[in-house]
């Protein structure tokens, strides 16, 4: 929760600077970001282990990076954010993409092994979207309602459990239709983020159908007329609809649009991180340095857009590059 406040603060500040009102997706990338220029002497192999929500993003970065350095070997494994800290600590991966921030326990484990904390790079912005079937007429939901739909305990303060679409005010054939729940498996960062922010830390209902991938949540909802599920905004298809969310029980629902992500009004926006093992004050080896530079370059951030996420502004890019001693 605390990191989320921080996040909102940063974004609200940035929104003023940024003025993001352009419709074309390609122009969402901050024009201040520099294009990537290759350097010599980059070779070796990279392995990335972590979030499956960022699997495609990593792959796009890898493909872009490879177009500059065709000989670098890149392997990408995405089975859930929780696999990233383990791999970083064991040294089996150089990059750990995570769709949530590391937990204190994971940071401790890392520190115990290396004597310093892992470095988090804020590479892109995601909105966790709540999806319903394309024919579902529901207009908006509050976090409290989401909590009552998905959780056992209703820590968000809702008084009544919500089991049918009728409980949310829908009529006709929807009134008695039970809500069919789709979610992610516990290893995924999306699972953790949604639990933390939409369920207020409460536990999921047992009926939630846990899916092996971000896309399969969307596909499940696409096939299931009475389904609802949560997944990254990048996985939206024409078969589902994204529901507007309001942070409070009586607030107006906020659309999951890029503007609302940058202003921080959309309640389920988050950074997507890439963690690396970097001793503070030291120099990164050329391979990792260039990969990080690529991520924060104009091309790297265009890849973010391609994947349906939102790019970070040049300010954040500069800040994070500075933490690993670049420029």
């Amino acid at each position: 929760m605390q990191s989320k406040q921080l996040f909102k603060g940063i974004l609200a500040g940035l929104a003023v600077i940024l003025m993001v009102t352009v419709p074309a997706v390609a122009q969402m990338v901050d024009p201040d970001l520099k294009g990537y220029t290759p350097v010599s002497g980059v070779s070796g192999s990279i392995k990335s282990v972590g979030s499956d929500s960022m699997n495609n993003e990593m792959t796009l970065w890898a493909e872009g990076f490879l177009s500059f350095y065709p000989n670098v070997q890149i392997e990408i494994e995405g089975k859930g954010s929780s696999t990233a800290p383990v791999a970083l600590i064991a040294g089996t991966a150089q990059f750990g993409p995570m769709s949530r921030a590391m937990k204190a326990k994971e940071i401790d484990d890392f520190e115990k092994r290396y004597g310093y904390k892992p470095t988090a790079l804020r590479t892109s912005i995601d909105m966790l979207a709540v999806y319903v079937n394309k024919d579902n007429p529901i207009q908006g939901l509050s976090l409290q309602q989401l909590d009552a739909i998905f959780s056992k305990g209703r820590r968000g303060g809702a008084t009544k459990d919500i089991r049918t679409w009728g409980d949310l005010g829908l009529t006709g054939e929807w009134a008695n239709a039970p809500i069919s729940l789709y979610g992610r498996n516990a290893a995924s960062g999306t699972y953790g983020f949604f639990k933390e922010n939409a369920l207020f830390g409460g536990d999921y209902k047992d009926e939630v159908k846990e899916q092996p991938g971000s896309s399969s949540v969307v596909q499940g909802v696409a096939r299931d007329k009475f389904g609802i599920g949560y997944s990254g905004i990048g996985y939206r298809t024409a078969d589902v609809r994204v529901v507007a969310l309001s942070p409070t029980a009586d607030g107006t629902p906020v659309e999951a649009s890029p503007e609302n992500a940058y202003t921080g009004e959309y309640p389920l926006a988050r950074f997507l991180y890439v963690y690396i093992n970097h001793r503070p004050g030291s120099q990164l080896d050329p391979l990792r340095r260039e990969f990080v530079r690529y991520i924060f370059s104009r091309q790297g951030q265009e890849d973010v857009v391609k994947d349906g996420y939102y790019p970070v502004p040049a300010l954040i890019a500069e800040e994070d590059l500075a933490t690993v001693g670049i420029q």
Binding site: V25, A26, V42, T59, N71, E77, P137, S215, S216, T237
Partner: protein
């Protein structure tokens, strides 16, 4: 089974003097009982077979149909909605549905009224189509649903063009101009298209030339540098920072770096020249709703006026898409391009697995069947092997990860690749470990099949050999093994079929989403058993469950599945043919 109860009393009856009664009873029973003729059993067994066949054929037909049609070029439709927005794209799916009342409340009043009337005239149901509208960087969507009642106008424009690009997915539009060095040189569709076709091939050729320079020439320099760097690291680790060897290695590294910097600069110049030449040519397209977009010709994989194609042209596009699918690396997070690395990985992994499992399994079976004395211990071993076949494959994956990757691989790294640590060489998933894990998984299949084949070797052959004065091993080597070979091959075929279709354990021991570097290539030492690899089964899983643009990935799931089935079938077919040849040689009829 029906004749027994009739027959048994008869034999009982004979000594007790009931002989005359027995045949009568038997005759009565068999003529009156339907069971006697086995009709119900016939129906039951036949029915079971039919159900199996229908399910298998149905599944294959679905995959075949979906997989085979994906690459056929679809016509483009241009749709103008009641809200006066225009879209263009390929129809991918359609369905009939009953629109809820709320659908109309979101529309402008007069539009809603018209839409309501159309739906009411159609008994409250409506038809809608999913259209791939592409142009993602402009629209933010790849697909869109269009309900018929929302459509004002629909047509198939003559000059609509489909463009497949290296990135950003497909683009649909009308050719507006052809630009050279930023200046328009053609501006009618026909002329523009003529220019495009005249230039596209050579530009792609230059592009491939550039890729080749990048991968091979620059790659070689990079590898030399990496090698020098590793030598420096090794010297540092072995002799310490003050040793003369380290200083020498460091100096060597610097020389190599300097040399490769100069070389790289020279190559970059060549590459830049190619790039500049290529970037001179651009195609300007206008989208259905009037936006203009310039596409560099270099970025275009394939473009065609979809509504003007003859059957021959369509076929040629269809084939070229299949060829790209077979022979290219994947693009756009695997949702486009080809699957060549995955095909290669699957085949290599299956072959290495067979190479590992067959000798191992045959030796184990030989011991069990030929040498071990029957007893409780051997029975226990047999039961254990049979149980091994029933262990969930993911357990093998976990074992492979812990034993092969972490333990064996970790040890190898420490002994031979310490300069590269902490990044692992063998201490992580790789094609060798994946093959060995699957070999373990399929070991029971081979052992059981081999044991059966050994047991089926006639005792008379063995005796004949012993009678000639052959020792046990000579008998096994010269008589038993050749004769059992077809059966062993059957075991290998089963193992291959099981191994090639297995995905779950592979995800733990080396199959990854992207690994364009093949485990066998032209770079010394040619075989790279430590490399991670792509696998068609995993690719299917990834496309199906992970891809961002899942609607576009869906057809790829079917084509890839089709491909996997074809590969497994042909590996099996090869083995079956081999087995039949052996069988003819070793087990032909006696008379």
């Amino acid at each position: 089974m029906n004749s027994n109860p009739a027959a048994t009393p008869q034999t009982d009856d004979v000594p007790s003097g009931g002989a005359p009664r027995a045949p009568r009873r038997r005759a009565q029973r068999s003529s009156s009982s339907l069971l006697a003729y086995g009709e119900p059993m016939l129906w039951l067994t036949g029915g079971a077979l039919t159900i199996c066949l229908v399910m298998i054929i149905g599944l294959l037909a679905l995959i075949f149909h979906q997989g085979i049609t994906t690459f056929w070029p679809a016509p483009l439709v241009q749709i103008t909605t009641l809200e006066d927005r225009t879209f263009m794209g390929e129809v991918t799916r359609e369905e009939t549905f009953a629109p809820a009342a709320t659908v109309f409340t979101q529309l402008a009043p007069e539009v809603a009224q018209q839409a309501r009337r159309t739906v009411a005239a159609n008994d409250g149901t409506a038809h809608r189509r999913l259209v791939r509208i592409g142009n993602f960087e402009l629209t933010g969507d790849h697909f869109n649903w269009f309900s018929d009642f929302m459509i004002r106008d629909e047509r198939r424009p003559d000059w609509a063009v489909t463009v497949e690009r290296l990135s950003w997915g497909r683009f649909y539009g009308f050719p507006a101009a052809f630009l050279v060095d930023g200046a328009v040189v053609a501006d009618t569709p026909a002329e523009v298209w003529e220019r495009y076709e005249a230039h596209h091939n050579e530009i792609r050729k230059r592009w491939r030339q550039r890729r080749h320079l990048e991968t091979h020439a620059i790659g070689k320099l990079n590898r030399q540098e990496e090698k020098a760097r590793l030598e420096m690291r090794t010297a540092l680790l072995q002799h310490g920072p003050d040793a003369a060897r380290y200083a020498a290695a460091l100096e060597r590294l610097e020389t190599v770096q300097r040399r490769s910097q100069i070389e790289t600069a020279r190559l970059r110049e060549q590459i830049n020249a190619l790039n500049t030449e290529n970037s001179r040519y651009q195609l300007r397209l206008v989208t259905a709703d009037g936006q203009e977009k310039n596409l560099a010709l270099e970025e275009i994989v394939r473009a065609f006026p979809a509504n003007r194609l003859s059957l021959l042209e369509k076929t040629s596009i269809y084939l070229s898409r299949w060829w790209e699918f077979f022979s290219d690396d994947p693009r756009e997070a695997n949702s486009e391009g080809g699957v060549f690395p995955a095909i290669f990985g699957t085949v290599v992994m299956t072959l290495v697995m067979s190479l590992a499992v067959v000798p191992f399994g045959v030796l184990a079976a030989l011991y069990l069947r030929e040498y071990a004395k029957a007893g409780p211990l051997i029975s226990a071993v047999r039961i254990a092997i049979n149980n091994l076949a029933g262990v969930p494959s993911i357990v093998f994956g976990v074992f492979g990860l812990g034993f092969f990757c972490y333990f064996v691989g970790g040890t190898i790294d420490q002994l031979f690749f310490s300069a590269k640590l902490p990044s692992p060489t063998y201490g992580t998933g790789g094609i060798l470990w994946a093959s060995l894990t699957l070999a373990l998984l399929t070991l029971p299949v081979v052992i059981v099949a081999t044991e059966e084949a050994l047991a089926a070797v006639p005792g008379s052959m063995r005796e004949g050999s012993y009678a000639c004065g052959a020792s046990k091993w000579q008998t096994i080597k010269r008589i038993v093994l050749p004769r059992a070979m077809p059966g062993i091959m059957t075991g290998m075929i089963l193992a291959m079929a099981r191994g090639a279709g297995e995905v779950a354990p592979l995800m733990l021991v080396g199959a990854v989403k992207l690994a364009p570097e093949l485990p066998v290539d032209t770079i010394f030492p040619f075989l790279h058993p430590e490399r991670s690899f792509m696998h068609l089964g995993f690719h299917i899983f990834d496309l199906g469950f992970q891809s961002q643009n899942s609607e576009a990935a869906k057809p790829m799931v079917f084509t890839t599945t089709l491909l996997l089935i074809v590969i497994i079938a042909s590996l099996n077919l090869g083995a079956v043919l081999l087995r039949n040849r052996l069988r003819k040689k070793f087990i032909s009829g006696v008379f």
